[in-house]
Symmetry: C2
Subunit: 254 residues, 2 copies
């Protein structure tokens, strides 16, 4: 069932003849990502030696590698690069639901559902680790540590969604954009990817617009104003926050 359109890159096809998850040994998100739990040594007794063989898959920037409602039997964890979850209306209007960064479980619910309920697109070139749903499900059901990690991810996903509803329904343009940048900073900060309030930021204004429910023109104006006011700097896929407290206050609707 090759239903997720990522290009498969098996270890056996690569130059390096080592097993699949070799790269994981040096993966920076190994400690915090869901994959880290799946690939760690199994607990003897609790888990009857079930082996989860992850495969790497890749997609190029802009590639839509999963369409909503398409059935799939896979579970993916982001290894490298950025992607996003989105929905589209018939007339083309797009809503971006969230951005995915390394270590993220791509769909918390796909472990128990046939489809994800939203589409997926690569923002940069990406590499993801693929597992079979049946394997992951068995692991979730048989290993309490994995189960509670999964539950925690579900709860976080739900809270993020409700916070986003709040933002979309009740924040104005400035506040929504500030919130988007602030929450991304927070997530990257947790993974140690923020230095001197500067971090990678591969979003185009069209992505910011579709995540905040605005138009690109308005996003351009608002961000231009933020730059003039000394709130932040953006260039070449890098953001630097110059006034974090004020950004946070904006993001929280003061």
């Amino acid at each position: 069932m090759p239903s997720v359109g990522l290009a498969v890159r098996r270890a056996s096809e690569a130059d390096d003849p080592l097993p699949d998850n070799t790269q994981c040994a040096t993966c920076p998100v190994r400690q915090t990502g869901f994959c880290g739990l799946l690939l760690r040594e199994h607990v003897p007794g609790v888990d009857a030696g079930l082996s989860i063989a992850g495969e790497f898959e890749t997609a190029h920037s802009r590639e839509i590698f999963y369409h909503a409602e398409q059935p799939t039997a896979d579970v993916h964890v982001m290894c490298e690069g950025w992607a996003f979850r989105f929905l589209r209306l018939r007339d083309g209007r797009r809503q971006i639901l969230s951005f995915l960064i390394p270590g993220d479980l791509v769909s918390t619910s796909s472990i128990f559902a046939d489809s994800m309920g939203y589409s997926l697109q690569a923002l940069t070139d990406i590499r993801a680790c693929r597992f079979k749903r049946t394997d992951v499900r068995a692991r979730v059901l048989n290993d309490r540590t994995v189960f509670y990690d999964w539950v925690a991810r579900c709860i976080t996903t739900l809270r993020d969604a409700t916070q986003s509803m709040m933002a979309l329904g009740r924040l104005n343009a400035d506040e929504r954009i500030a919130r988007l940048i602030f929450t991304l900073r927070d997530r990257l900060h947790q993974r140690g990817l923020v230095n001197n309030e500067t971090f990678e930021f591969p979003l185009r204004q069209t992505h910011i617009a579709d995540a905040t429910g605005l138009t690109t023109v308005h996003v351009s104006r608002v961000m231009g104003a933020m730059r003039k006011e000394g709130l932040l700097e953006v260039e070449a896929g890098i953001v630097r926050i110059l006034d974090l407290p004020r950004l946070r206050r904006l993001a929280e609707g003061f």
Copy 2:
């Protein structure tokens, strides 16, 4: 830990000396609600005779019976009446996240989290069934049927949230209001509570406004227009949909 502000009404305090869940026998949502699963005969062997004693609790219309982030050890299932989940910003702006009707599990995630992450308010007088989290959690972990029912509810909650994000970000006022009414119709229809496209509708325009990210004034105008166009009728807490196909098209953003 009486952290959820519902008035407890034990069976022993009632006129009727029968056990707590007597009323459940005639409950119209018994078959479809989460409580039905919790209260049914336990599967011998699978479940070591764990008994879940639900208590009824009540709240009056308008009563805020739970505040976000407040810790709680309870899990509630709606028995009678309507309530809603919401968030507030410091300056008072409110976003309603969803409406709860009989049979709904009030918080799918509170079974594994200390707090719900949003506040709860009664829309009408309500009656809810309270369970101890530890009991429900044990039941979810030990009974596969209950577990999969819970997972399905989590997935539904997540999908509803993403659909709401789409609506708040990318639908205009007409469409958002149409969607709200249409999705409520759908949920009530599933429970057999729609007759001749007419159903109970206790929402005030202020609730519609806070669920759709609009103001009451604008809601009044839009709904007035809908009435004039022969799309629907609203009066005295009852809605009648006159043109369901058109309402659906609006709700889906044509």
